[in-house]
Symmetry: C2
């Protein structure tokens, strides 16, 4: 078994109005950050996965995203996997 750290970025699909992003953009402009535009706000999920291989880990995380973590109708997500060094290779 290997342990991976998954870093998942979830953003609203392009076609869907990002109200939170628009609000933050407006607030930024009103306090003088005129040069910051096109603000989009999404979620970032980090977790650890135990799996036999990188592919198995990715499949599990992808499945979890579809079923619970993201809303595939409204959101797009990207998964990044990094292998975590086992601290004490006893197991």
């Amino acid at each position: 078994m290997q342990t991976f750290r998954a870093s998942i970025t979830i953003m609203l699909r392009k076609a869907i109005l990002d109200v939170q992003g628009k609000t933050v953009e407006h607030s930024l402009h009103s306090i003088g950050f005129e040069n910051l535009t096109d603000v989009h706000i999404g979620k970032h999920v980090m977790l650890h996965v135990q799996a036999d291989s990188r592919d198995a880990a990715l499949a599990q995380v992808n499945d979890a995203c579809k079923k619970l973590i993201a809303n595939p109708v409204m959101e797009d997500y990207e998964i990044e996997l990094t292998e975590v060094e086992a601290a004490g290779a006893g197991a």
Copy 2:
């Protein structure tokens, strides 16, 4: 003036209990994803910055994070900058 895309990841500080993460972890386990652990949930902000240099862009985004985008008391953030190709170099 150059345009950069800033990708900001905001997570709760380690010392602060991530209730949302715990809840999602619990839900994942209850639908069979026993191998997913250590779930942390934060925010992901993407925006465009206009600035004279990479350093100036980073300084602006950092300032905006401190003042509005993140809560420096409770959250840590990481900024990643990518230069965006100018579409039509007229300006």
